[in-house]
């Protein structure tokens, strides 16, 4: 469970939003909306600890994430604007490199992740030959390699084709069903059917 309490963020000297509070619990998806420049990306990066807020607290299971320290970073997976894909490595090498930052990677999970996201054809090729959409899928494949309760996703569906969007939506739904949480931004409407989807607009 993640709690945001009175969060205020700024970019340079410009305040983006003030005293934002919300909570996300197991099985919930929070869809953050707002115009360009409203601070959606900054909010997500603040949740991950990449950006410092001006004031306010973020609490994981009741404790401030700053107290959690390194531990908190074991609780979530972040897929931001950049794909985190290294061009010289093959898709499985990429996934292994990221996964191994936490612990030994499970080779079977890597293979099944690649299959689920239709990247098998490029298994032994350097990732630089992949198209934008394929690189995005590779970035999202990270979500399947490790079990984490919280997914923080910034425009996960960008550059994806219809088929892939369906796959990702399915993957998200499965995650929520297992009791996971997701906080994401998306210009596209998300169609779930099941699952607890809430919306939060940064306009106010």
């Amino acid at each position: 469970m993640i709690d945001v309490v009175n969060l205020s963020c700024a970019r340079g000297d410009r305040t983006l939003f003030r005293e934002l509070s919300f909570r996300v619990q197991a099985g919930e998806l929070l869809h953050i909306t707002g115009a360009n420049g409203a601070g959606k990306t900054t909010l997500l990066r603040t949740l991950c600890g990449l950006t410092r807020p001006i004031e306010g607290e973020i609490r994981w299971d009741g404790t401030d994430i700053r107290t959690h320290g390194d531990d908190y970073r074991m609780r979530f997976l972040y897929v931001g604007h950049l794909n985190g894909v290294q061009g010289e490595l093959t898709p499985p090498e990429n996934l292994r490199a990221t996964a191994e930052l936490t612990d030994t990677a499970d080779a079977t999970r890597i293979e099944s992740a690649l299959t689920r996201l239709s990247l098998d054809a490029y298994h032994d090729f350097p990732a630089k030959i992949l198209s934008q959409g394929q690189k995005r899928r590779l970035a999202l494949a990270r979500l399947l390699v490790r079990e984490r309760p919280l997914w923080v996703l910034d425009e996960p569906l960008a550059a994806l084709d219809v088929q892939s969007i369906e796959t990702i939506t399915d993957i998200l739904a499965e995650h929520l069903e297992r009791g996971g949480m997701a906080i994401l931004t998306s210009h596209q409407a998300l169609d779930f059917g099941a699952g607890n989807v809430r919306h939060l607009s940064l306009e106010d």
């Binding site: 991950c48 600890g49 990449l50 950006t51 410092r52 390194d70 531990d71 970073r73 074991m74 972040y78 931001g80 604007h81 950049l82 794909n83 985190g84 894909v85 290294q86 061009g87 010289e88 490595l89 090498e93 490199a97 990221t98 191994e100 930052l101 936490t102 612990d103 030994t104 350097p126 970035a139």
Partner: protein, 225 residues
């Protein structure tokens, strides 16, 4: 602890793999080292005694500049493709992970420089008795250059004019290493003991290993903000 050690080996292995597939990236600073060293005889004339006088300084300045040049490879690519972010999100202290990157960078750039130096030293008539000291001084000094340079590289990520700006920031900080490194070789060339100089270089290395990781991690966080 084991997880951290695992992460460090993973980072080094990944960097070496990537470098292996982009060999030109790694070889270029070494070529630069050779070119700069050759420029000096062309500039000051081939008089053997003059070159012998200049050799310690020239070799060290060239090594310094070559290291400088290679530093843009340290974080910039990872910053651009988003891999650096993922490092910052790993459940390990960023200072240690940054050291891992500096270590792999040194293995790929610093170490080859050290091994190349004796060859170039011969072209500048450096006396044979100074070659060992040359190796030791560079072995101690190039990691310090990489560690200090990492701070500059981290501070200038994503900025326009990055490379030149980084050089302007880092080169003044290199002067102590240059003074004692070239000084050590000059001492040895004159038949004197370079022990004091090498001890100071070792002290610099110890200091850099303690302080630079903190500064590099802080700078990386600022750039990723």
């Amino acid at each position: 602890m084991a997880a951290l050690a695992h992460a460090i080996t993973c980072i080094v292995r990944r960097d070496v793999t990537v470098a292996w597939r982009r060999v030109h990236d790694v070889v270029l600073p070494l070529v630069f080292f050779a070119i700069v060293t050759s420029l000096f005889p062309l500039g000051v004339g081939p008089e053997p005694n003059l070159l012998r006088e200049l050799a310690p300084g020239v070799l060290w300045v060239a090594a310094l500049l070559a290291t400088m040049l290679s530093l843009n490879r340290l974080f910039a690519n990872d910053y651009a493709d988003g891999t650096l972010e993922l490092l910052a999100l790993a459940p390990h202290p960023l200072s240690v992970l940054a050291i891992a990157k500096v270590a792999s960078h040194w293995l790929l750039t610093g170490l080859p420089l050290v091994l190349m130096a004796p060859l170039l030293a011969l072209s500048l008539n450096l006396p044979d008795k100074a070659l060992a000291t040359l190796l030791y001084s560079l072995l101690l000094g190039t990691p310090v250059l990489s560690l200090i340079g990492a701070i500059g590289a981290a501070l200038t990520l994503g900025l326009r004019g990055g490379g030149v700006l980084m050089s302007a920031l880092v080169l003044p900080l290199y002067t102590p290493v240059l003074i004692f490194g070239a000084g050590a070789v000059a001492q040895a060339a004159n038949g004197q003991s370079a022990e004091a100089h090498l001890s100071v270089l070792a002290a610099f290395l110890a200091l850099a290993l303690t302080l630079a990781p903190w500064a590099t991690a802080a700078a990386l966080r600022v750039s990723l903000d």
